[in-house]
């Protein structure tokens, strides 16, 4: 039982999703995109914003529909609703942010396969009201965003010598090619998990 449970529902969901039950470093969900999009900060921000919104809206919708969904097609309906929102995001990006849409390429469509979205639909939205499910989805997305952004900052800094596209380390900096490639995300993610889990255990220990 995490210490956050004593607060109000919304606040405890926020703290849980950002920290005690973080989708990336505690639940280890959404790892595929952690590897794929974190080598530059701006793509990471847009991708994680997309995931947050898709999770929030699909959780709210599924929660509202929950009573009507027959058990046999529950997951099919979940996938339908999730892909609906992801396609909407894709359409909006293509129409209003064509540059972003081009730089993200196929990644937007791949939001559908992000395990966090279906995980929240199954674990939370099924048994909670729509507004709270929306909040849960949004904060789960933010927890995902926080970790990915941290990894992206490190990867972009060492891999390109820049921060959000702005050169920081100067022309004499030799880029670490490994940081641009997927394996570096494995190392960084594992290190982040190690550090953050250790910290969590310490915090829990301190409360006892």
């Amino acid at each position: 039982m995490s210490p956050a449970k004593k607060r109000g529902a919304a606040a405890s969901i926020l703290v849980d999703n950002l920290w005690w039950n973080n989708p990336v470093f505690v639940q280890v969900l959404g790892i595929c995109s952690t590897l794929a999009v974190t080598n530059n900060l701006s793509n990471t921000l847009i991708m994680t914003t997309g995931v947050s919104l898709a999770t929030a809206f699909s959780s709210a919708t599924l929660s509202a529909m929950n009573k009507a969904i027959p058990a046999k097609v529950r997951m099919i309906v979940q996938v339908l609703v999730i892909s609906f929102y992801v396609i909407i995001i894709d359409i909006v990006l293509r129409a209003y942010l064509p540059e972003v849409s081009r730089s993200l390429g196929p990644y937007v469509g791949l939001i559908i396969t992000n395990c966090i979205i279906m995980g929240r639909a199954e674990a939370f939205a099924r048994s909670n009201p729509p507004a709270l499910s929306f909040w849960d989805g949004l904060t789960s997305g933010l927890g995902y965003m926080a970790v990915l952004v941290a990894i992206a900052v490190v990867r972009e800094l060492f891999g390109f010598g820049s921060f959000a596209g702005v050169p920081l380390l100067g022309p004499r900096w030799t880029s670490w090619t490994i940081m641009i490639m997927a394996p570096s995300a494995f190392f960084l993610l594992a290190m982040a998990m190690w550090g953050l889990k250790t910290l969590q255990e310490r915090m829990k220990g301190g409360k006892r």
């Binding site: 058990a71 339908l80 359409i91 064509p98 390429g105 641009i180 490639m181």
Partner: protein, 211 residues
């Protein structure tokens, strides 16, 4: 009706699918023109950039394109050509552009390639889309890479992308360009795509179409 009955399940799935698909179709329909306009603008920008033309002050890429570039649609029944040619200027000094594309390492690479009327020099190359590894093959979209192609003289009607300093070949006269370090396959793909484009330009020139 019972929630777990077959009839309810089938009916529910049908209705839900129809409803969501309806809204998707609606969203698609409402943004269709905007998306097409965005695509056309991106294409025109790439064509202008490949031809080395810049929009004048206060002029949009669309306006510059309409003012400067002539589209030459292929005549019906011309074998091997479906996409149009774009011409900047006229006569001996005209430059011609066309879209070229081919497989890269991960997905298709498409670009606009521009040559002079004699097909002796590349006027410019502008990447339109690519899905290469970001930071490695993806760097073919960076300015230093495409800038190498500007004014590059062909050697034997072709170019060669070779391992170089990785910062751009400074000599526009040798028909050689620097590959992207760490992206051998992507660089080779660009070489192949550009050379295939050059070959079709040569065929057009020999057929008397570039004048």
């Amino acid at each position: 009706m019972k929630k777990d009955s077959i009839a309810y399940t089938v009916g529910f799935t049908f209705v839900v699918c129809a409803a969501f698909v309806f809204f998707l179709a609606l969203a698609n329909e409402l943004t269709k023109d905007r998306v097409a306009a965005n695509q056309r603008l991106a294409e025109r920008r790439a064509i202008l950039a490949a031809l080395g033309a810049e929009p004048g002050p206060g002029e949009s890429a669309d306006e510059a394109y309409l003012r400067l570039v002539a589209e030459i649609r292929p005549e019906a029944g011309t074998p091997g050509r479906a996409s149009p040619l774009y011409r900047l200027g006229a006569g001996e000094t005209a430059a011609y552009a066309a879209s070229v594309s081919g497989p890269g390492l991960w997905g298709g690479i498409s670009a606009v390639l521009a040559v002079d009327a004699q097909v002796s020099r590349i006027v410019g190359l502008e990447l339109v889309s690519q899905n290469e590894t970001p930071g490695l093959g993806g760097r073919i979209g960076e300015a230093w890479f495409t800038a190498q192609f500007r004014g590059e003289a062909l050697s034997g009607g072709r170019i060669r992308v070779r391992q170089g300093s990785g910062s751009g070949d400074p000599d526009p006269g040798n028909g050689e360009l620097d590959a992207v370090t760490g992206a051998t396959l992507t660089s080779a793909a660009v070489e192949r795509i550009v050379n295939a484009g050059l070959a079709s330009f040569e065929a057009l020139r020999d057929g008397g179409k570039l004048r």
